[in-house]
Symmetry: C2
Subunit: 396 residues, 2 copies
């Protein structure tokens, strides 16, 4: 009798336990105030609307809702998606996905070969790196500033790249939003070079004072795949997202979808389709915006108050769930985390979001999950941790 | 301005529209009696149990059910799975998947490199071929007979293969079941050669007179990945399956799962977990078995009656959803299908289930979706179609 000889694929050999995952485990310890996870506030979940929809769907349509279904998704939901997007989308271009994370997996399967170059923001969404990595791309970070990626660097790096992955609204992890002028320049760079764009927009509805500029895809629908999600405007636990793809690519994404899980749960699609009837989001989303804006303001005020006198910098997002903070010179957010956790507060270090050399001083704070009272206590604890670990002043 | 230069991955270039998918579209035409799809009878869906569970989960546990959750799955559901399997399984080895189709996708990602040899039954489940194909394996069919794969051929082909994919109970597409003696021999061959087994068991609970022998995995848990599903005992529309993996492989499958869709919908996992409480399946599954056995008997009787006098052969499955039929010499099931559809009846030709040279005379009939009255009409129409297309007798 031999030992079973499991031979891992090359991609699996390279998989490492997710840093974020290990961190989130720590932050689940009772009593920890967590600014780490990107968890929508459960206060925003429309529970009674879901309860009514469950009764309605099972009462009227149980046989279809509980049966195998088309891989494309539930037709009324695809129609709703097409109708609400601010450019001309045919429902036949909409593919319902098991969360928008699955959209990233499908894109990877259809567009990435081993060694393909994929351009990403610096830093970028970690979940996208995890979804793309199994197809063994080479990641190239595109330079940028507070307004988004640098169109000149994008042009320079475009030749031969399979696509650029962009998250223009309230980016994860930085919270930055691409300006109108930058969108125009980025879209033009993509058009000029023929570089496909994969645009991820999970947070776009969560604006505070004004909606963000139109998606990049609206400027170049034939050259873009657009990913959206119901996780932030309804609830993540149903795992419902969608993608919109040009006809040149849609059939391949559909086949990858079918091979991946046959179809997204039809019951969940019907629930959400039912909840969306009658303009539900027009009434519901403003309550999420108001809550998150209030909590963001609260966190900004707490940072102003508690970080005073230290060279700590952060941005003021205009929507979304995250802000981005930079520690004083000589500090390392990953090294600071255990000390912060000891003091009862958690965050996500910025390093794992970089594909190239990380900025070790950065970290991500979510302002949506914790209450204002927890935000006060958590930021105070974080500030105290930073203060205790400030590098000694170098002798002049 | 250039045209967007979409470059497909090698795997996407090779993807073809699924034959089965195109067939199923035809069979959705109103009035067609379909023996094609593997759709559980909606009469078996426990609608009121789901309705109660929805109310209960949203009433008691909405914040958790609608939130992001652990990639491993809902702990009580993992415990239930571990507890009901007939070998020693720790809940930490159970991964909840978005249907068992996703289990196949994860296995492919973790175990298949481009060019890896993967052994499959002749014929085998088409969905598995679709799930494995994106990772670009080379498929090798293992010879077999009515009792299952040939252990000697398995030994011969084992060296260097990444795994063998087996569906021992009421196989899709043939309906065949691996005998106890064959299981012992196959398990021994795998143990001797160190060949990992991926065992798929979506239909195991749907036995007619007696349960099938113990799974192969029970004989060699360290050398096997076991896939199960709730689609056939509860409902497919929730997309809930699971896999059980040895500790050597589990962490990699978990990372692939996290990258694929973060986690399976927590709401659905809690619904099913709630429905399963108090031994629900012990009362529910016998009603499915009785229904499917009656419909299977009805189809067998109709075949006896209507195919008389032609050299048409079929098997008598002891469970599951499918039987396998072989047309007279000189006939081709794929060529026959349009004529059958014209007469109002559909089936799936056997050819797409083969990785090597297909047996063009074979076809699959599902006996679970159509009513007995439809079975009578459908088999009569099929028999008439066959009769009309019998090859002319060769002059002696």
């Amino acid at each position: 009798m031999n030992k079973p000889s499991w031979t891992l694929s090359r991609r699996a050999e390279r998989m490492n336990p997710s840093v974020l995952r290990e961190i989130l485990k720590v932050t689940e310890r009772p009593g920890i105030i967590s600014f780490a996870g990107g968890l929508p506030s459960p206060r925003t979940f429309p529970v009674s609307a879901f309860a009514e929809a469950c009764a309605d769907v099972l009462g009227r349509d149980a046989s279809a809702a509980l049966q195998y279904a088309a891989s494309e998704g539930h037709v009324p939901l695809r129609e709703w998606v097409a109708q609400q997007l601010p450019w001309n989308v045919d429902p036949s271009q909409v593919l319902i996905t098991t969360g928008s994370q699955q959209g990233l997996d499908l894109v990877a399967k259809v567009l990435i070969d081993s060694g393909s170059r994929v351009l990403v923001e610096t830093p970028t969404y970690l979940g996208a790196l995890q979804a793309f990595s199994p197809m063994e791309p080479v990641f190239n970070g595109v330079a940028g500033d507070a307004e988004g990626v640098d169109p000149d660097d994008l042009r320079r790096q475009a030749p031969g790249a399979r696509f650029v992955y962009l998250l223009p609204n309230f980016q994860n992890p930085t919270g930055r939003t691409m300006s109108e002028a930058r969108r125009a320049a980025v879209a033009q760079a993509a058009l000029d070079t023929g570089l496909p764009i994969v645009e991820d927009n999970p947070y776009g509805d969560l604006w505070f004072d004004a909606p963000p500029p139109a998606p990049l895809t609206a400027r170049n629908p034939e050259g873009s795949i657009y990913l959206g999600s119901f996780s932030k405007v309804l609830a993540p636990g149903l795992r419902l997202g969608f993608l919109v793809a040009p006809k040149a690519i849609y059939p391949k994404l559909l086949q990858a979808k079918q091979a991946a899980d046959l179809h997204t749960p039809g019951f969940n699609q019907r629930l959400v389709s039912r909840v969306l009837e009658g303009g539900f989001l027009e009434r519901h989303v403003p309550t999420i915006r108001a809550l998150y804006q209030a909590q963001c303001r609260h966190m900004l005020a707490a940072l102003e108050r508690d970080m005073a006198g230290m060279d700590v910098r952060w941005n003021a997002p205009v929507g979304g769930m995250f802000l981005w903070l930079r520690l004083p010179e000589g500090m390392d957010a990953t090294a600071l985390l255990p000390h912060a956790v000891e003091r009862g507060v958690a965050f996500v270090p910025g390093a794992p979001f970089y594909t190239d050399l990380p900025d070790a001083r950065t970290l991500r704070l979510s302002f949506v999950t914790a209450s204002t009272e927890q935000i006060d206590r958590g930021i105070a604890a974080l500030a105290q941790t930073v203060r205790e670990h400030l590098p000694s002043p170098v002798a002049a």
